[in-house]
């Protein structure tokens, strides 16, 4: 087995993922490109596991499994953020997100009269 073949494949996949992250405007396509980069790292880890003899056997494959689990968690939280962004802005273009949030229009005009929080909290907790 020539180890240079999977190594070069992983390097090219990482470059493609970098290109996709920088090029795409749609947040879901950015996440797809991030998945490509994570796969390139996994491929490097598994190839190194078969080519490099280490003190602990199969450390590379164990780390590849850990990275897969991390990618699953990342996609779950990332898609929750994307859906919340779509719910608020009706758009998932990442370069149209304002960094400074405008103040909400229903902010209490008179801060001296807050609603009774202790009366509202148990009712909310019961739901």
């Amino acid at each position: 087995m020539r180890p240079v073949i999977p190594y070069v494949t992983a390097a090219l996949l990482f470059g493609l993922g970098t290109y996709g992250v920088l090029r795409r405007r749609n947040a879901i396509l950015v996440l797809i490109a991030v998945e490509l980069m994570l796969n390139a790292v996994n491929l490097i880890l598994v190839t190194a596991d078969t080519t490099v003899r280490s003190q602990l056997p199969h450390g590379g494959q164990v780390f590849a499994l850990f990275v897969i689990v991390l990618a699953a968690a990342e996609v779950g939280v990332g898609l929750a953020i994307v859906l919340q962004l779509y719910r608020m802005r009706a758009s998932v273009a990442v370069d149209e997100v304002p960094l400074a949030e405008p103040p909400p229009p229903n902010a209490p005009a008179e801060p001296s009269a807050p609603p009774p929080a202790t009366a509202a909290t148990p009712g909310e907790a019961d739901r």
């Binding site: 087995m1 020539r2 180890p3 240079v4 073949i5 190594y7 070069v8 494949t9 390097a11 090219l12 990482f14 470059g15 493609l16 993922g17 970098t18 290109y19 996709g20 920088l22 090029r23 795409r24 405007r25 879901i28 396509l29 797809i32 490109a33 998945e35 490509l36 796969n39 996994n42 491929l43 598994v46 190839t47 596991d49 078969t50 602990l56 056997p57 199969h58 450390g59 494959q61 164990v62 590849a64 499994l65 897969i68 689990v69 991390l70 699953a72 968690a73 996609v75 779950g76 898609l79 929750a80 859906l83 919340q84 779509y86 608020m88 229009p105 609603p115 929080a117 509202a120 909310e124």
Partner: protein, 195 residues
Amino acid sequence: MTGTDALLLALGALAVGSGALAVATRHLVRAGLYLVLCLAAVAGMYLVLTAELVAWVQVLIYVGAVVVLLLFAVMLTRAPIGASTDLDRPGWPAALIGGGTGLGLAALLVDAYRWSSVPLPTAGSAERIGEQIFGSWVLPFEVLSVLLLAALVGAIILSRPDIGRSPVDLAGDSRADETPAETSIEASAEGRRSR
């Protein structure tokens, strides 16, 4: 050039080609499907590299769960059916940085390994990997389970807008519900969803 090398070359070409299509296509759904092809080719490379457990976990979690989640998100954000014209930014800096990264790493690895050959280990390593995970790597494994729990709770809190706001906001929202005028961002978004 043995059969293993030919198989690795074919699967690698398939992975790189479908990955390039996934980051270049103008159809949102097709990007997800090209990603499936790329992940399956990488899983095939794992199989050739005698990492069966990683290959099947890749098929289960990536192709089975992650891509389905991505396609769900594509559907939920009301993606158009045909080609979209507003998916990309102008591409010269991205092509420069991405191409530089990929080709630079490839040159580095080619220089490190040349055309050397390595014997593959024997197949059937799932039992040994299990021993390693639950022996040497059991602490990272447990920490990872805590991280998965945190990600689960975080995703639930993010996707439910009525959790985690202060009681002042909640009281303000209930006031806004009594009056027909929708004022807050969340209230207007929920109204748009229910319509």
